[in-house]
Amino acid sequence: MAAPVVRTSSAEVLPPPTERYTLLGWLKKNLFTDWFNTLLTFLALGFLYLIIPPLLRWAFTGAEWAVIPANFNLFMRGQYPAEQALRIWIVLWLTAIVVGFTWGVWSKEISPALVVVAAIPVLLMLVPFFAMETRLKLLGVEILGVVGYVIGRRVPRKHNQIATWLLIITLFASVFILRGFGPEQTDSLWARVPTNLWGGLLLSLLLSIFGIGFSFPIGVLLALGRQSKLPAIRTVSVLYIEFIRGVPLISLLFMGQVMLQLFLPEGFPPIDRVVRALVAIILFSAAYTAENVRGGLQSVPKGQYEAAMSLGLSTYQMMRLIILPQALRAVIPVLVGQFIGLFKDTSLVALVGLFDLLGIARVVLANPDWLGTQQEVYVFIAILYWIFSYAMSYASRRLEISLGVGQR
């Protein structure tokens, strides 16, 4: 009398079968499917053979990389005095804690992007030529960032306005910390540092962050103006946008340096050169923001407007509560792209005599000690620009996925 065979537990769940290749199979599928593909493979190999070995030979034996560590501080902060350099670290620590906090408020799960960002200070600590002191300061950035994140995670997401305000306050506080108080050229930590000494990566980042920050509200207003039913407002917006988009940024920067003072009444105190460049960048960027936001506004279905109006919302309430949140969410990736573009475009201020990353590179090259190191210096700053831009575009792609743009 055999007992019936009955399964008491469910069968083991197997993963779906994956494609499995041997090395040869992979090669055949990806490189040698037919004669044409094979030809392409060999052409590509030949091309790589022409490019890569000389490049590696140059990078490891030919190039004189000594110019980079010797001028590293210049590249990072320009001629910002060493006595006051601790203030830049204070700004970095402040930024780390606020950014960590904001991240914690916004996203409760640990995403790959978070891991990448958190790894940056640790990776920087591994740079061979940094002093132990620098490494400890970087460790401070890491710890404060983590502390901020842990605090932020405990704040419920509905309070995310706190984070936004904190970010804005930090931004302005940073400028005050960098600018300092009291008389110039003293050894005290808080002496004033005039903006013509600000430079390097510090200036590039400040210009792009403030450029995008100030141009954003102007751009949103212009986009709304361009969509407006009122002809006069529409015309003014269209004229502004088309004018700015039609001329090169470099002409606006030159105009800012040469002509901005002309537009102001006599006796007006001379405007700081950095501010002049910033004004040109903001005016330029606002027109592009406006066009991007317009794309977002057009993506909001008409039913949303009608529904909002039938609920009795005023135009202002409708825009602020219904339309703009949807429109802006749709264009976040585009805006990040624009920010990357602006970060790259800040290199143009070197042509009007500011010492941003590119401007400081030219200063280094003018130093007789480092004659003939153009290749090394420009490759280095190109890589710096690349790392920042690529990191931002990577982050924006992650953001796009987590916001579900195009899926909702």
Binding site: N30, L31, T33, N37, L40, T41, A44, L45, F47, L48, K229, L230, P231, A232, I233, V236, E242, F243, R245, G246, V247, P248, L249, I250, S251, F254, M255, V258, M259, Q261, L262, F263, L264, P265, E266, I340, K344, D345, S347, L348, A350, L351, L358, Q374, Q375, Y378, V379, I381, A382, Y385, W386, S389, Y390, S393
Partner: protein
């Protein structure tokens, strides 16, 4: 029953809540602020200009002698020419770089864009690396690197790098073979013009016949065939070839013959081409990928040949997506050519915004002219773009 109670909206609200009144008021306020600001700036400008230069705004300086040299020029120019002619030299130099840049960037961009879609792993990765690298590096850094670290470091003429052609690369510039027109050149240009007219006629005739018979030939192909046929026949019918190839050769400390392009020009052109090609490649890739797979399958199911599928189904739809961003890349390239100022190529902006401005101090006049010219390019282009977009727009319900 009162009519009013049923239609409360028929009663006019007080004027401060009446939308019609409010819209008029808000427009007046906005225009008032804009005009007021502009007037404020303008009066300030006029008064400070009067103080600095005596006269507020005066374009008369354009007729004065420029008195400076320009490194390279497409038209004859010397330091005794006027500022207006110097402007023209700069403008032509800008146009030269922009037109050549657009042509080469399009070719390179299409190649890289197609490579990016290749199923071949290596080819695909090379294209991806190219695009990802160049899109994330500032153009200005690229241009300065290209000029200072590559082209300005070319060897002296005695050690010139010689490429097949021959092309001589040295610190005296890049000497390339160049066609020199002979006596029959003017006749040949006339023959080519006639060929163009003939090609247009052939196209029209073929199109009319195609409409009648219902079998439309490939019009652009016939157009090209006619034009090239006339060109080839004309070349050999003439008693003497209209162009002879002139090869550069080393003579003493210089190259002789052919055409010598300056390092600045080559650095600017190659920098712009390499940079813009990365963006064009992305545009092309997005365009091709935007045509859904079903389109190809449906066209194949209808019995079209692979070439017909490409020409009649895939291409027209991809172009609709490609053309608008492609045009904006062309405009970007034109505007970006103003970065020539960083490497010493005398384009419009470098000649006007730098040299002329420094000599005359007439910022308002110079900037209005320069910006006006760039604006003209971009506005005419967007005008044609809008017309084109309207023509190819999908007709929706």
């Amino acid at each position: 029953m009162q009519q009013r109670a049923i239609h409360p909206s028929q009663e006019r609200p007080p004027f401060w809540r009446d939308e019609r009144v409010l819209s008029v008021i808000s427009q007046i306020v906005v225009v008032g602020i804009v005009v007021g600001l502009l007037a404020f700036f303008y009066t300030n400008m006029v008064s400070s200009l009067r103080e600095q230069l005596g006269v507020p705004i005066d374009y008369g300086f354009l007729k004065q002698t420029a008195g400076f040299d320009i490194g390279e020029s497409l038209i004859s120019y010397s330091r005794s020419d006027t500022y207006a002619r110097a402007f023209l030299v700069g403008l032509l130099n800008t146009l030269q770089v922009a037109v050549l840049g657009i042509v080469f960037a399009t070719i390179l961009g299409i190649i890289i864009g197609v490579m990016r879609l290749s199923t071949n792993f290596l080819v695909n990765r090379i294209a991806t690396a190219y695009i990802e690298f160049l899109r994330n590096v500032p153009l200005l850094v690229l241009l300065i690197f290209w000029a200072q670290a590559v082209f300005f470091k070319l060897p002296r003429i005695k050690e010139a790098i010689i490429l097949p052609g021959p092309i001589y690369l040295s610190n005296r510039g890049i000497a390339i073979p160049w066609g020199i027109p002979t006596e029959t050149w003017p006749t040949y240009t006339r023959i080519l013009l006639g060929g163009l007219v003939l090609a247009i006629i052939v196209t029209i005739v073929l199109r009319e016949r195609g409409k009648r018979t219902g079998r439309m030939p490939i019009l652009s192909l016939w157009f090209l065939v006619t034009l090239i046929a006339v060109g080839i026949i004309g070349w050999f019918v003439l008693p003497q070839p209209p162009l002879v190839l002139d090869r550069p050769e080393l003579v003493g400390f210089n190259t002789k013959g052919g055409r010598t392009l300056s390092q600045q020009f080559m650095a600017l052109l190659s920098g712009l081409v390499i940079y813009t090609a990365a963006f064009i490649a992305e545009v092309v890739r997005a365009g091709i990928q935007s045509v859904s797979k079903g389109q190809r399958e449906a066209a194949t199911a209808l019995g079209l040949t692979p070439f017909q599928v490409l020409r009649l189904v895939i291409f027209p739809q991809a172009l609709r997506v490609i053309i608008p961003p492609l045009t904006s890349q062309y405009l970007n390239l034109t505007k970006n050519s103003s970065l020539a100022i960083a490497i010493g190529y005398p384009d419009l902006f470098a000649v006007a915004g730098n040299t002329i401005l420094n000599q005359t101090g007439r910022a308002v006049e110079v900037f209005s002219l320069v910006m006006g010219i760039y604006l003209f390019f971009s506005l005419t282009t967007s005008l044609f773009m809008n017309i084109y977009n309207r023509r190819i727009r999908l007709v929706e319900r």
